[in-house]
Structure formats: C-alpha cells, structure tokens
C-alpha cells in the first residue's frame, strides 16, 4: 500500500534527483551556497559544471540563478546539488541567463506544467517566442523579447493555477489577437 498524494503546497522539501532553480548566496572556498527554498541552503561545488577544472573556474557570482539537480537530499542534512548530469554533460543546467523574470508558484502547478502532455505550455509557446525554466522548488524563470511580454507570461502562469481550461483558452485567444 503506497500512496501518492498530490496536494497544494508552496514550501519545498529537497528530493534527490529534482531539478531546481537556486539563487547563489555565498561563495566560500570551493563551494557555492545556493538557496533553493528549503530549510537549508544547498552546496554546489565549483567543479560540478561542464568543463570546469581547478584552473578553469565557472563564472558564477553571488545572486546568480543556477539550474541544477540534487545528488544528495535528506531531510536531516544539507542538500548537495550539481549542474552536470551523470555523463558529465550540462544538458541545460548551469547558470541561467541574466535577463528574464523569476517568480514563485505552488509546487502542484509546476508538476502540472511539467506533465508530459501539458496543454498550457504548448499554448504559451504559440503566443510568443520565449525561454522558460521550471524548478521543482516552485520557481519559474521566464524570458521573452520585451518586458511586457515577460510580465504577461508570468501573470498567465500564476493564474493558470486557478483557471479552468475554458477560461484559459479564452485568455490565450484574446492575447493571440492583440
């Protein structure tokens, strides 16, 4: 008897294997401290980037956004994350671009948006060209060509939580016309 219970939750608990967006809070020696929204900041070694060596350090500043995954995540220990997959490739992880907007949503919405056949994402993609990164810790980074478009996208995604499919379609069709 194993139960999967999906619920409304905003507070993130680190889980191994999750891809998250973190904010670098400190650089100390060989590791970065990255805030992921959990109870403790995660540690990220500077070698855990693609192509990083002792001489060739990655260009990461305090306050940058990092997309990575957890390799160690227990509820009693500080989690550890890396920006590299098991083969040593970045596959999209690493420092996220400089512009764009980061905002927070509930965990349930992220899981819904990341489901394999999510219509919301497809419709959003048809609206404007955009870059988007979802972190399982409830953070979404989005970037479109203009600030106005980015703000519209952020507001739509936040509102998707509370809208029915019909309302969403209405809103998208209105936006597509204007």
């Amino acid at each position: 008897g194993v139960y999967w219970v999906d619920s409304q939750q905003k507070r993130y608990v680190p889980v191994k294997g999750d891809h998250v967006i973190g904010i670098v809070t400190a650089k100390s020696g060989d590791i970065f401290k990255v805030d992921v929204g959990g109870s403790e900041p995660a540690s990220l070694s500077y070698l855990a980037f693609e192509g990083a060596t002792k001489r060739n350090r990655p260009n990461v500043q305090v306050g940058d956004l990092i997309y990575g995954q957890f390799v160690v995540a227990n509820k009693d220990m500080e989690p550890e994350m890396v920006c590299i997959d098991s083969c040593g490739r970045a596959s999209g992880m690493g420092v996220i671009g400089q512009d764009g907007l980061l905002f927070k949503v509930t965990l349930g919405l992220i899981r819904k948006l990341l489901a394999p056949d999510c219509e919301i994402l497809q419709e959003v993609g048809k609206l404007y060209p955009l870059e988007i990164v979802f972190g399982m810790n409830g953070r979404i980074w989005v970037k479109a060509k203009t600030i106005q478009q980015t703000l519209i996208l952020a507001n739509i995604l936040e509102a998707c939580e509370h809208m029915t499919a019909d309302q969403r379609k209405q809103i998208f069709s209105r936006l597509a016309e204007s």
């Binding site: 999906d6 400089q98 489901a115 056949d117 029915t164």
Partner: protein
C-alpha cells in the same frame, strides 16, 4: 528563517520594468492595490487587506489612573506586531529594526496628530480615565505594511464602542453593554499613511510598493494625511535626496489617495452599521464566502465540474468493488498496531519505486485536487459517500478498533478521483498512514 535572497536577475528585471513604467501586477504608477475591510463580531475588531498584505486591528479599553502630568486626558497605546506567519524572515528575536520603525511611525501618525479626543476619555479628573489600546497584527507581508496598518488602526478606532459611564458626585457607574449602548470614541479626523517608493536615486516613483518592489527600492517617503489635506506626519527613509517639487507632488498625490481611501472606509463602516442594526449576520465568518479555502486566491473562477462527475462515475463503474473496510489490524504489542503493510526503505531508490507504481493495478490513481474550491470538494465527498468504505480521514481517533492479533492485515484501498482531465502522472509523494489503536 533567513529571507530568500533577491537574485541579480530579478533586481535587474524589476528596475528595467520600472523604467518602462511597468509593474509586476499590471498596476499604474499611482495605483493602489485592492483594499478590503472586514469587521469582526466585536466592536473595534477589523481586518484590512491591501492586496495580499493583511493587518488585523483590535481596540480595547480599560479604566485606569491618568498620567500625573496629564490628569484630564485619557491614555492611548499603540502596538504593531509582526506575526511570524507574515513572512518567513520574521522571527521572534530578529525583527527589531523594522518593528521599531513602523511602531514609531504609527505613533506619530495617530497620537501626535490628535485624531482622537483624549479629553473626552476622562471620567474623573485625576482619578479615572479610559486607556484605549490599539493592537495591530501583521498577518501577511506583501509590501507596504505601514499603509495597511494605519488604515486598520483608524478603522478599528472608528468602529470601536466603549462602555458608557456616568458620574454622580463621587460615584462612577460603569454600564454594561446590556444596560446602555456602548458609546463610540470621539474622533476628529482620520489620518492615513501613503507610501511612495523611489528608485534610481529618485528618478522613478511608485505608490504602494509591493514586496518585490520594496526590496529594490532606494528610499521610501511616507506621508500621513487626512481628507482635509492636512499633513499629519511625513517621513523619508533610505537616505535619498528628494527635490522640493518631488515632495510637493507626492503630497498632492497623497491627498487624492487619502480621499479615496477615506470614502472606502466610510462606506465599510456604514455597511457594517446597517447590518448590525438590521440584525443581520456580521463578523469575519460572514465576510469570508463559505465553502472556500481562505487562502489567497485570484478573483472568483467558477469550476466546471461536469466532466469530473462523468469521469468519476466511469472509474467507479469500472473498478472492482473495494475490499472490506480495514478492521483487522495486526497487534504487535499492547498499544502498537499495524494496518496494511509498511513500505520498504527506499532511501536513494526513487526511480525504481516510481516504476513499481506504474505496475500497480489501474484503480489506484493519484488524487489531484489542483484547486480545492469547495465545489470540487463537495463533489469528491459526494462521490465518496456513494462508495461506502472510503476510510481516509484526518481524524486519528475516528473509530474504536477492537484488535484481534491473529488475522491477516489487509491493504487499504481507496477510490480516488482525478479532478482535471490532464494527465495525472506527476512527481509522486509517498505517504504512510498508521492509525493509532484505541485501547
């Protein structure tokens, strides 16, 4: 908890957006967020919501001896508290700077402006005066605490009724609310704070900053004004240099805003007075629509649950009838029972166990209650009652279970319903349920 740091990306974006006169929630530069005022059942209790920022205000009174150098005046006492539920960064020891600043500003705004007639609070000169105490609690922090708090304070004071008192010679009679109607306080005017946030060394200005905007602002100007365009308090913090005409412009904007807010307050007070007089229901419970979660939510969105019913009925029709109710837990020792099987330790094995889940028989589907509007909730519980043995409940002490230790433990099966048509597979969260055995 430490505050979530502000990333460079967000800061840059916010500043650029402000330069282009765009705010995160689509407001204009001089727009306030929605203000909602609701009253409790007692006089003097109110909750003010400024967007998502929520402040609870409560006024109470007591008969005390007056201060020695002010023998004919009542005493006013203001207190603002930043509750820990308002923001993760508010911890009992750690809020002092912000707290002191806000309290001081509120005091100056309300006490020094003499908005309340303290002479009228005197009962017996030199011996008994009323002490009016205003307690404000910040329930949620989404920026601009000071405005919300000042509105809550003045609304609570206007709403409050103190017990009636009569003095005959030396005798002071304090009437209970049943004997004589309580008396409102004597309030001369309503000072309201308006906050202006400045960015880029005073080049750009926003009214009513929300939490994100407050993080990136350079300085804050607070003007407390009443509807007669009298400035009660003005304070500039953050160390930015403001030009004379900027301050004058802000005061003009504040005048307009205060008029609107005062109208709103009057309307809310009037509504509440009407409801109480007509004997209708009032109080916080009434102002929150029933069958909704009281979480912050977007404006009403009706949920279309017609397809849910069909899908649910389909699932129920196709499913096997559920097994007997959990009635035979395994008793290990007195006081320790087990219902169902425990789960093996899968520390580090998340991917494998995910696959195991796929193989379980089809009737075990994950519950996805994306928006728990009670409409859907009611559907779920209705469907639940058709399907008698749904055992899941939050109460640990629901049933008296008589334990017989030699029967086999049965697995708990539950019918679950997917509330949306979208594909249900998500990142699953494992839950173990153990019912405490009643002895």
């Amino acid at each position: 908890m430490k505050e979530t740091p502000l990333s460079n990306c967000e800061r840059r974006f916010l500043l650029r957006a402000i330069e282009e006169k765009k705010r995160l929630d689509g407001r204009q530069t001089y727009d306030y967020r929605n203000i909602k005022i609701s009253f409790g059942t007692d006089y003097g209790c109110c909750i003010v919501e400024l967007g998502k920022t929520r402040v609870l205000g409560q006024v109470s009174c007591e008969l005390v001896s007056p201060k020695l150098n002010r023998a004919t005046e009542g005493i006013l006492f203001f207190n603002l508290e930043l509750s820990q539920m308002a923001a993760p960064a508010f911890e009992p020891g750690r809020q002092s700077d912000l707290l002191v600043k806000l309290n001081r500003l509120l005091e100056r705004c309300l006490r020094n402006s003499k908005c309340i007639d303290t002479e009228s609070l005197c009962v017996v000169a030199g011996e008994k005066v009323w002490q009016i105490r205003v307690d404000l609690h910040l329930l949620n922090h989404d920026g601009n605490i000071i405005d919300a708090a000042s509105i809550a304070a003045i609304v609570a004071l206007c709403h409050f009724r103190r017990p009636d008192v009569s003095v005959q010679g030396d005798e002071v009679t304090l009437y209970t609310p049943e004997e004589r109607d309580p008396v409102p306080l004597s309030i001369h005017h309503m000072p309201i704070c308006v906050s202006f946030a400045f960015f880029q060394q005073g080049t750009y200005l926003l009214v009513d900053p929300n939490e994100r905007e407050e993080r990136v602002m350079d300085g804050l100007l607070v003007i407390a004004m009443n509807k007669h365009r009298e400035i009660c308090t003005i304070q500039s913090s953050g160390g930015i240099m403001l030009l004379k005409d900027q301050v004058l412009r802000c005061s003009k904007i504040a005048g307009v805003k205060v008029l609107e807010i005062t109208e709103l307050i009057q309307k809310a007070l009037e509504n509440d007075r009407k409801v109480r007089k007509e004997g209708g229901k009032y109080g916080f419970a009434e102002s929150i629509a029933s069958q909704r979660i009281t979480a912050f939510k977007m404006e009403k969105a009706p949920i279309d649950t017609s397809d849910v019913e069909e899908k649910a009925e389909e699932i129920i029709a196709e499913a096997e009838p559920p097994l007997e109710v959990v009635s035979n837990p395994v008793l290990w020792t007195p006081g320790t029972a087990q219902i169902g099987e425990g789960v093996e330790n899968s520390w580090g094995d998340l991917e494998d166990s995910e696959k195991e889940e796929e193989d379980e028989d089809g009737t075990d589907e994950a519950i996805i209650l994306d928006s728990i509007k009670m409409d859907t909730g009611v559907e779920v519980s209705n469907i639940g009652s058709q399907d008698a043995p749904i055992v899941l409940s939050d109460s640990e002490e629901e049933e008296m279970i008589i334990l017989e230790p030699d029967k086999n433990p049965k697995k708990i099966r539950t019918q679950t319903i997917s509330a949306k048509q979208e594909a249900p597979s998500k990142k699953p969260v494992r839950k173990r349920k153990k019912k405490r055995a009643a002895n």
